[in-house]
Amino acid sequence: MVGVTAPDGLEPGLDTVAALHDPVRRAAYRAVAAEAGEPVGRDDVAAALGVGRTLAAFHLDKLVDAGLLEVTYARRSGRSGPGAGRPAKLYRPTDAEHAVSVPPRAYRSAAELLAEAVERAGADAVLYQVAREHGQTAGGGTAGRDPLTLLAANGYDPVRDGDIVRLRNCPFHRLAEEFPPVVCGMNLALLDGLLDGAGLAGWRAAIDPTPGHCCVAISKTKNR
């Protein structure tokens, strides 16, 4: 029974998040999460961490127990049928989101109410302007002139794809799923402001949805 607010209290979030306390386990989680949904095997994680396979498997299975990762089985080589070999045990992050706040806070409940109110009032433009201004302030405060550093420092997970930078993490994911135009528009304005505030005139943020990524992509403007 959650009620109208859903504070992120210590139960059940703390046990899950605490599973990341050990530095090796946290690194193992990050190694899997870095694959952006592509399942990864024990051996690749072990290599990435520079640890033995047994230790990697131990940590990965603890992360599965904690609900942070899930297991899938796949035949790596594309073979099938008897004699094709045992399917590889692969790991990927679960869809679940985990948050802990002390004292308990329910900012997401407030965000849902505010987003719906903005939508109902048709006040999108005001929200976008506010977001742009906040982005400009944040961008103005950074010394880095490189878009990837700037984006990573502001909670995004950028990955370069030629002249396009895509974002693997949407900081507003669940809210964006419920209120896509308003929240994605807000995110676009935030990123637009960030680039502007950091003086990165050679880059432009635009709506460009691709599977598994944030719907905003940053691309080089033509005359650079």
Partner: protein
């Protein structure tokens, strides 16, 4: 066993006549967005005027209410087009071109037997059902869906 498609109606009040410069970006994007819908996975049908190829000239609900109506193989297909394609960018800007004054509910979804097409009268009735009863199996929204019968 009958299979079902999902129909949708959305209505809005344009802020200006379509020929007005303030509506230029909306008008310019129409052909591309309609072509995108036509080619999208799960697209079945959309309402269009025989002359223009879109529904922007139709006014069955009153002189100030524009509508759009379409049919899709599944809610996921509809959602993918609406929110995970270039259409999202137009939706982001909708308040530049449209408002919903007096239209408490402006998007409704409902199930129809596959192979049939919705009428505007039925669509308006579903919108009224949504307004009266809230989301339910007969009339629902993208935020709160109900399974096919």
């Amino acid at each position: 066993m009958t299979s079902y498609h999902v129909a949708q109606l959305n209505v809005a009040r344009p802020r200006a006549d379509l020929a007005d410069p303030s509506m230029a970006d909306f008008v310019a994007g129409l052909a591309r967005l309609n072509a995108l819908a036509d080619g999208a996975p799960g697209f079945v049908w959309r309402l269009q005027d025989s002359d223009t190829g879109d529904a922007t000239g139709l006014r069955p609900f009153g002189p100030d209410i524009m509508l759009n109506m379409s049919v899709w193989a599944s809610v996921d297909d509809l959602r993918a087009y609406v929110y995970r394609s270039a259409h999202l960018d137009s939706l982001r800007r909708r308040n530049e071109w449209f408002h919903h004054e007096g239209l408490d509910h402006y998007l409704v979804l409902w199930w129809i037997p596959a192979g049939t097409l919705p009428t505007v009268e039925e669509a308006w009735a579903r919108l009224e059902t949504l307004g009266r009863d809230g989301p339910g199996p007969e009339a629902f929204t993208l935020r709160q869906t109900f399974p096919a019968p």
